[in-house]
Amino acid sequence: MHKEIIKYLTPMLGEATAANLVKHYCVKMRLSVDDLTPGQLPELADAMRPMLAVWLGSPGAARVAEEIAQLRKGAY
């Protein structure tokens, strides 16, 4: 699942930042990067919002977090 998040974020934040960001929050939330489940995505996406807001602004970060949460549905 983490590969999908990185793939989604890479065009915006770059590959290194996207990977580091996902890793950073997985460690912070004590989640296993490799074993992320779709059910954990909304919580993870919500946690990422403040950092996404640094580059995208709060409204943009909220939308991106929403779309990350929906990755489990294969919507994006």
Binding site: G14, M51, A53, V54, R63
Partner: protein, 293 residues
């Protein structure tokens, strides 16, 4: 306005402008060169005005609590102050105001000598924006670090004011606005402030490289190019104006053209970061919240 509509004409201009200037200079001599540089000055101011309009739109994408809001507010004020300074310079370049001479009125001294420091004020605002961006990058807690070679590049950047000091006699060239003995001090101050801008740009550049590509990196790469072009414009002036006055003035203006186009692209790229569907929803949400007061 989309970035795609700007990139191609900008790239073409990078080649077309020097070629045009060379042709005009060889056909019409000094007068032709001056007119070509003045025309480029007018075009640069126009692009700066368009960039400002786009930067105002970018600022609206950030909430007041976001660090980006402060950054883009500083960039907005930086461009406003710069445009006021450019309007003042236009009145001098197009000879709408009498030339300053020793013994001129206090009002003329203030308008011509003091108000030129509006450029310095705008540069300080640019420094604030860059410093806030660096702080924002560090605040993420992700790995953004300077490397040893960055300090070497910074040393090279600080060679620019050193070289300018060395060639400071060249800074007192006579342009269409006339010459005064205060211009050297102004240019030395500006090139030093410019070196600080370039130093901060190098820090941002390193962080951008560490992002591994992406749309955000593209935005800040444009800012870095703008900052370096601004500083290089003064170096070019200092190095060239002793022997080739017309070419020096044109090169300075050409680099400022690069500077203004990069700011326009910065603002457009920032608006294009989000995937298109998200971007439209964010713009709609921002408009709705504005309508609700």
């Amino acid at each position: 306005m989309r970035s795609r509509a700007v990139i191609a004409p900008f790239i073409v201009s990078l080649v077309a402008l020097p070629v045009t200037f060379t042709v005009v200079a060889s056909l019409y001599g000094q007068a032709g060169s001056d007119r070509a540089t003045l025309a480029l000055f007018g075009a640069t101011v126009l692009v700066e005005a368009i960039a400002l309009a786009q930067v105002v739109r970018v600022r609206r994408l950030f909430s007041p609590g976001d660090s980006g809001h402060l950054t883009w507010t500083l960039i907005t004020v930086f461009l406003v102050v710069r445009l006021v300074a450019e309007a003042r310079l236009a009145t001098l370049n197009f000879q709408l105001v009498p030339r300053y001479a020793e013994g001129s009125s206090g009002g003329l001294f203030f308008y011509i000598i003091v108000l030129r420091y509006l450029y310095t004020v705008s540069d300080v605002l640019f420094i604030g924006a860059l410093a806030n961006t660096i702080r924002a990058y560090k605040s993420t807690g992700l790995k953004f670090e300077l490397l040893a070679q960055d300090f070497f590049y910074m040393l090279l950047v600080w060679a620019m004011p050193a070289l300018t000091y060395l060639f400071h006699d060249n800074l007192m060239y006579s342009n269409t606005a006339g010459t005064d003995r205060y211009i050297v001090t102004f240019r030395l101050v500006t090139v030093s402030v410019g070196a600080l801008i370039a130093t901060l740009c190098l820090v941002v550049r390193r962080y951008v490289l560490q992002m591994g590509g992406g749309a955000v990196a593209r935005v800040w790469t444009m800012v870095v190019i703008a900052g370096i072009a601004r500083d290089a414009s003064f170096l070019a002036l200092a190095l060239l104006s002793g022997r080739w006055r017309a070419s020096a003035q044109f090169t300075e203006q050409y680099l400022l053209w690069v500077f203004s186009c990069c700011w326009l692209l910065t603002a457009l790229f920032q608006q294009e970061i989000l995937p298109r569907a998200s971007r439209e929803r964010v713009i709609r949400a921002a408009a709705e919240s504005k309508a609700m007061g």
